[in-house]
């Protein structure tokens, strides 16, 4: 093991990481979506989506259609929600819509979630500006990796340690 080898390896690892990061961001630009991949965390869309499934999102310019599955953020809440649109009312002003969502596995619509925070009292609908993406594709199970890593931080450090070992030991 010499310094030159370690530097070359670090460069390769960095190239790989930045390559992945850049492709992800480019894909985000193409789909008009800040995070075009999301991992399902809850059971509210069972049996369509289970915890740990990966969803591919995009955010086309066209109006949100009835029955589409949207990922939306409620003001003041950090975690986005993935639910299906069950009501849609389009205003004449272009682009503005009143949307009501509901999880396939929930018994009631999402108005209780919209109004959970005091700042959102009286919020009956979500609008296209709350929608951060619309589900276009589906890949099961693979998101369990990220769930495991958030649940067991040791795993994350083990992975980082593995990458570090590659840098120092690979020839």
């Amino acid at each position: 093991m010499n310094l030159r080898q370690v530097l070359t390896n670090s460069l390769n690892v960095l190239m790989m990481l930045f390559g992945v990061f850049m492709s992800y961001k480019a894909w985000g630009l193409y789909t008009n979506c800040e995070s075009p991949l999301v991992v399902v965390l809850s059971e509210s869309m069972e049996p369509a989506f289970a915890r740990g499934d990966i969803l591919f999102l995009s955010n086309p310019k066209k109006a949100v259609d009835i029955g589409e599955i949207c990922v939306f953020k409620i003001p003041g809440r950090d975690i986005p929600i993935v639910h299906r649109v069950i009501d849609r009312h389009d205003s004449p002003e272009t682009g503005n819509q009143m949307l009501l969502t509901k999880g396939d596995n929930n018994n009631v619509d999402d108005r209780g979630i919209y109004q959970e925070l005091y700042i959102n009292r009286g919020k009956m609908w979500i609008e296209p500006k709350d929608v951060v993406g619309r589900v276009q594709g589906f890949l099961p199970y693979l998101g369990m990796f990220t769930i495991f890593m958030t649940d067991y931080p040791l795993l994350k450090y083990a992975l980082l340690g593995g990458v570090g070992l590659v840098v120092f030991l690979y020839e």
Binding site: P47, I66, G67, I86, D87, D90, P92, V135, F138
Partner: protein
């Protein structure tokens, strides 16, 4: 050169590429498998009643919101939508109408999840709407709505696809004839 590490690496890389190629082939095949789904919704009766939605929800807190109660008839044969990449169908009946303030409105009246081909033929009579049929203006006077059956195919892996039946004739809403209890 042919160390254990190299061989393991090659085997891993090859199997991962092979799995993803296979998943891609399955995902794209679902788009070209032919199908001939059919479906129709009809309304046997519409009754409009006034009532209160929920006093906690500010928009609808008064007692004179108009709710439409419908009796639906649904006939559909969606079995041809089941192929090797169909995990489930989400089937929903939609009422569509326009009002002077909102040119396009769609409300889901009823929905169901179908997980097996053997139960993909639907024939239902006397269905009431599962979700409230109330407009944002809370009035149904002079509004004509048509109904249609929509479906969303959720795949095991791949693309979410949607389809719908032809819209029915337009139904006019009657004047309010009662109070919702």
């Amino acid at each position: 050169m042919n160390s254990l590490q190299n061989r393991a690496n090659a085997v891993m890389a090859f199997s991962i590429s092979a799995i993803f190629c296979l998943l891609g082939a399955i995902a794209f095949s679902a788009l070209i498998i032919p199908s001939n789904p059919s479906g129709a919704v009809a309304l046997d009766s519409i009754k409009v009643v006034t009532g209160r939605y929920d006093r906690n929800w500010v928009d609808y807190k008064t007692r004179n919101n108009e709710f439409a109660n419908t009796v639906m008839r649904i006939d559909a044969d969606l079995s041809s939508l089941f192929h090797w990449n169909t995990k489930q169908l989400f089937v929903y009946a939609v009422a569509e109408y326009s009002t002077p303030t909102h040119p396009k409105n769609q409300i889901v009246l009823w929905d169901t999840i179908i997980k097996r081909k053997s139960v993909a033929v639907i024939s239902k009579r006397g269905l009431n709407n599962k979700y409230s049929l109330i407009d944002v203006n809370k009035k149904w006077t002079d509004i004509n709505a048509n109904v249609s059956l929509h479906w969303n195919i959720v795949p095991y892996v791949g693309f979410m696809t949607y389809g719908h039946s032809k819209a029915s004739e337009g139904y006019a809403f009657p004047l309010p004839s009662g109070i919702q209890t």
